[in-house]
Amino acid sequence: MTTWNEYAEQRGTLPEWPYPVQYDKESEIAADVLIIGGGVAGSHAAISAARLGAKVVIAETGHLKRSGSGGSGVDHWHGACKNPCSKVTPLDYTQAVMESAHGYSNGMARYITCSEGWDTLLECEEIGVQIRDVHDEFKGAEFRDDETKLMFAYDYTNRHIMRVWGYNLKQCLYYEMKRLGVEMYNRTVVTSLLTEGGRQGGRVVGATGVNMRTGEFYVFRSKATIIASGGGGRLYSFAPELTASSSMSTMNSAGTGHAVGWDAGAEFVLMEQTGPGRLSGFGYAPYSMGNTHNTYHGTSIVDANGKEVPWFDPFGRELKTVEQRFLPNGEQRFQLGAGIGLGTYAEEYRSSDLARDLPERIRKGEFQLPLYADLTRLSEMERRCIWGMMIGNEGKSRIPIYDTLTKAGFDPDKDMLQAPVMVPEAYQHSNFWGGTPIPHLRSLAGGGFLVDWDLRTSLEGLYAAGTSPVFGAGCHGESHTMGRYAARKAAAYAKACAEPVVDRQQVAAEKARAYRPIKQNKNGAGWKELNYAIARVMQDYCGKYKNLRTLNRGLSLLKELKENEGAAAYAANPHELGRMLECFSLITLGEMVMHASLERKCSSAYLDFYRLDYPQMDPPEWEKHLPMRQEDGRVAVRELPLDFHLKAPYAPSYEENYERHAH
């Protein structure tokens, strides 16, 4: 008996809520450093701040042992530029990223993370993560350094991207947090930031939260606060009955950190940037299908007749050997690798890939569906590394893919894994398991808190870490490193700042708002119905194509959802209450995206952003950031050059800024 239906049918009664329900019970928790969101960024931040002697409190929606987008593992670590084998400097790397993104990325976060990423990884090794081939399984492989036993991904010449056995990494962070005495609040949905005097734009002095099992209300009072929460995976594509397993972010990913920051008056940039909703769309289980992207990079793809799809370098030259897939080609100095939060890659730094006209060739009958990933065409070392090392350590790949498929008899030495059968256009991107892109499903792609060289937001006392909250910031490893860095700055601030004072009126108002869904007439909509409606508004009015009218209409509809259906929505238990409060955050997140989209009065290929009323692509006068914030409840926007991080009040070079701020 394992399902609710089975229980109900066999017992003829319903099971009671298993946890003590304590609505309205209020606890106040004091911290030097409060961390909101306990994924890899937040957990690493907690460790970093605790090691500096701060009293650290961390609030997490799931359970810290295994939660977060990076919580189920990692197989490769980008931008470890200072590892002993790397031939890429932090400056090279940062400039390559900024050039690829045409300036629409975060030079500060990139430089910080590739300057310290290797140190962060060494810290992970110290607490139990395997980062070297200590069992000599890959001795002699081209992607291995036999002296240090380090292993590399994507670019075997330049060796700045590490292959790691990170499947237990989150548990290692968890036990280290425990050892250091970090105070952990699991199952806690954060609902607001508290500010000095309750004033929007004031110093951040804490946060409020609700426990999703007991309904208890928490008032966190903190000297410094770090937002390390997830993105808004549920904003555009919500269909959990179908798609949770094809999602790269959990149900907890509701943009809560963005929303509470926005309401507190913090400044944001690039919220208008969205990308195809491929990873959280109606795809296939991650890594479960034949493909040659990311973790599978370099895998041979063949058609139904065994005919191999050729590879090309970014300049359009066909590769002659399998080995070339892992090497820079021609005039390339190094490759960046994929999956680092970039929508576009300059050719000089882009990895080689399948023939770009593959869809056309499929249409003409040159390659017959279905396609297959044929790992047998790789060297034994490479095959074992992709299937067994990377598939086996990457998030959601150990149990769901490696164990499941090998138990079912799949043998990479003998078998070819089929790619999904899709419309020809869908083979344009070599991550086939993402499925056919659906135009109206989008995902947030780089928007976040505007930070400075301390990773401080525009609000005093509030820092940000992680690739979701910090604009334009990267992927898994970068999240750790930002957490580690932001925590140093937050801990230093906490030592010097005045005692935080919580505004009781602000707490009371927030408490009333948070508990409204349990005190409603039960005829109100439930959280899922509300979430579906939010997603529909986003898809329809702020999809790939938008204009002034759709955006204004969308904003009106979100406001109505908030004030009508949302205000009357009903939650039957603390779990539903938590999900409902996340939906309220989603509405705010949607408003942020729409406001940002209204402000950018042009289209942009770099931002994958299309205004039907401003079709001109990337006009030079619009190549700038448009930081926006709320001031007395109204949206205020200013302009900032894309290279603001190298202009006054900052120093003109990356090195100088880093030296001034990092320590």
Binding site: M1, T2, T3, W4, N5, A8, E9, Q10, G12, P15, E16, P18, G62, H63, K65, R66, G71, Q130, H135, E137, W165, Y167, N168, R213, P240, E241, A244, S245, S246, M251, N252, Y284, A285, S288, P370, D374, T376, C385, G388, M389, I391, G392, N393, G395, K396, R398, I399, P400, Y402, T404, L405, T406, A408, G409, F410, D415, M416, L417, Q418, P420
Partner: protein, 116 residues
């Protein structure tokens, strides 16, 4: 088991993301404790497998299985996804899929990295 037919909602979807072997499961609720999205709830009776209350909130990370000390727990992606996981043996041309009847013998090779 009762023969009565009750009015119940349709089965929650996906149907069987987590499956418990009721004999092996000792009801320790370690899986309940760590699940990132609180998919399962403790059973009202001690030593019984948890109740999967919110299956659609599962993101199929496998945390529950890794946490389980008894081997009672297994997982399956939604049928709409597992039906797509097909492979072909190069030598024989034979087709296989996840969940097929009469599957081939399991491949027992452990993942890289050795025991933890």
């Amino acid at each position: 088991m009762s023969d009565k037919i009750y009015m119940t909602p349709n089965p929650a979807t996906p149907n069987k993301g987590q499956r418990f072997d009721a004999i092996l499961c000792n009801g320790c609720n370690a899986c309940v404790e760590v699940c990132p999205t609180d998919v399962m709830m403790p059973h009202p009776e001690k030593e019984k497998p948890p109740i999967v209350l919110y299956p659609e909130e599962c993101w199929f990370c496998g945390a529950c299985i890794e946490e389980c000390g008894t081997g009672a727990l297994s997982m399956a992606h939604p049928l709409s996804q597992n039906i797509s996981v097909n492979w072909q043996r190069k030598e024989t041309g034979a087709y296989y899929r996840l969940g097929m009847k009469n599957p081939p013998p399991p491949n027992r090779r452990p993942p890289s990295g050795g025991k933890r």
